[in-house]
C-alpha cells in the first residue's frame, strides 16, 4: 500500500502516539551514539593524560570556529524546519530543510579543505597519535554529517511531495533530534581538538 493510502487510514491520535514511540526510540539511539563517541573521546583523554610530553599539534582555529558557526546555524534551520512542519507550513519547511542541507554541505567542504591541507603537508592519520585521533574523531563525525544529509534530502523530497502535515511530521522531528546531536558532538570536538 502506498504511503498516502497508508497515511489516510491512520487517525491523528495514532500519529501522536507513534511520534512518542519514535521519540523514545530516537533518544535511545542517541544514547547509544553518546556511548559510541565516549569511547573515542575517552581514548583521546587517555592519550592526553598518559603522555608525559604534550601530544597536540596546532590546527586552524579559524576554520574550526567557522565550522562551529556553520553547524550551530544548521541547528537553527533544523529547529525551524521542525517548527514550520508542525504548523503545516510546507513551503517554509522545505526552505529550512534546504538551508540545513546547504550548511551541512558547507561544513563538509571546509572539513575537506582542512583534510586536503593536511595531506598536502604529508600529515596523515598514521603520522602521529594526535593526528590519528584528529582524523578518527572528525572522520566519524563527518560520516554522521553525511548520514544526516542523506536523511535531510529524503525529507526535503517527501515534504515537496506533500507527505507531511501538522499531524504527521515525526520523520522531520526525529531527524532534527539526530541533527542536533551531530551538532553537540562538534561542540565538544572543536574545543577538544582545536582549542584546549
Amino acid at each position: 500500500m502506498s504511503d498516502q493510502q497508508h497515511h489516510a487510514e491512520l487517525a491523528p491520535s495514532f500519529h501522536a502516539e507513534r511520534r512518542n514511540l519514535r521519540a523514545m526510540g530516537m533518544w535511545l539511539f542517541l544514547g547509544s551514539e553518546v556511548m559510541f563517541f565516549t569511547a573515542f573521546f575517552g581514548a583521546y583523554i587517555v592519550a592526553r593524560s598518559a603522555s608525559i610530553e604534550p601530544i597536540n599539534h596546532p590546527l586552524d582555529k579559524v576554520l574550526g570556529a567557522l565550522n562551529t558557526v556553520v553547524l550551530i546555524t544548521s541547528s537553527l534551520t533544523m529547529a525551524l524546519a521542525v517548527a514550520y512542519s508542525k504548523r503545516g507550513d510546507r513551503k517554509k519547511t522545505g526552505l529550512a530543510l534546504l538551508g540545513t542541507l546547504a550548511l551541512a554541505a558547507m561544513f563538509l567542504v571546509v572539513k575537506g579543505f582542512e583534510y586536503h591541507a593536511h595531506f598536502a603537508e604529508g600529515v596523515y592519520p598514521s603520522s602521529d597519535i594526535f593526528h590519528g585521533f584528529y582524523f578518527m574523531l572528525t572522520g566519524f563525525h563527518g560520516l554522521h554529517v553525511i548520514g544526516g544529509m542523506i536523511s535531510l534530502s529524503i525529507l526535503w523530497y517527501r515534504n515537496r511531495r506533500g507527505d507531511f502535515d501538522e499531524h504527521y511530521c515525526d520523520p522531520i522531528e526525529m531527524t532534527g533530534l539526530y541533527w542536533h546531536f551531530v551538532d553537540l558532538v562538534w561542540i565538544f570536538l572543536f574545543p577538544a581538538l582545536y582549542l584546549l
Binding site: G42, S49, A65, T68, V69, L76, F181, P191
Partner: protein, 127 residues
C-alpha cells in the same frame, strides 16, 4: 503521553523566539571559547583570586563553556524542556555512563603517565 502534549499535535501558537535567543547565545559562547583559548586562564585566575593554576584551568573553562552550549541545544533545540521523564532519563543515564568511562580511563592513565614518569626518572637517576 501526558507531558509531551505540546510537542505532539500541530498547533500554531508555539513561538520561534526561543530559537533566536539560543542561536545568539550559542554564537556568543563560541566567540567566548575561542577567545579564552588565546588567554592563559590560569594566570588570570591567579591574579584575581590568588594561587597557582596550570593549563588545566583552560581545559576546565573550555569544558564549562561547551557544557553550557550543549545544555542549550539539548534543552531548547531538542525540546527536552517538553520531553517525558523517560526520555530525559535515557539521556541522563547515557551521560552518566559517559562520565563514568571518562573518570575510569583518566584515573588509570593519569596514574600510568605519572607512574611511568616516576619510574623513568628513577632509571635516569641511576637506580
Amino acid at each position: 503521553m501526558s507531558a509531551s502534549s505540546e510537542s505532539t499535535q500541530g498547533h500554531a501558537a508555539h513561538s520561534l523566539k526561543p530559537y533566536a535567543y539560543v542561536f545568539t547565545a550559542l554564537l556568543v559562547l563560541t566567540a567566548l571559547t575561542v577567545s579564552l583559548s588565546y588567554v592563559d586562564v590560569g594566570a588570570v585566575l591567579g591574579r584575581l583570586v590568588g594561587g597557582t593554576w596550570g593549563h588545566g584551568a583552560n581545559i576546565v573553562a573550555g569544558l564549562i563553556v561547551a557544557v553550557l552550549k550543549a545544555s542549550l541545544v539539548v534543552w531548547i533545540f531538542m525540546h527536552q524542556d517538553h520531553e517525558e521523564g523517560a526520555n530525559r532519563f535515557i539521556l541522563g543515564f547515557s551521560v552518566a555512563l559517559m562520565a563514568l568511562a571518562f573518570l575510569a580511563l583518566s584515573t588509570d592513565f593519569v596514574w600510568l603517565g605519572t607512574y611511568t614518569h616516576r619510574v623513568a626518572g628513577m632509571l635516569v637517576a641511576g637506580n
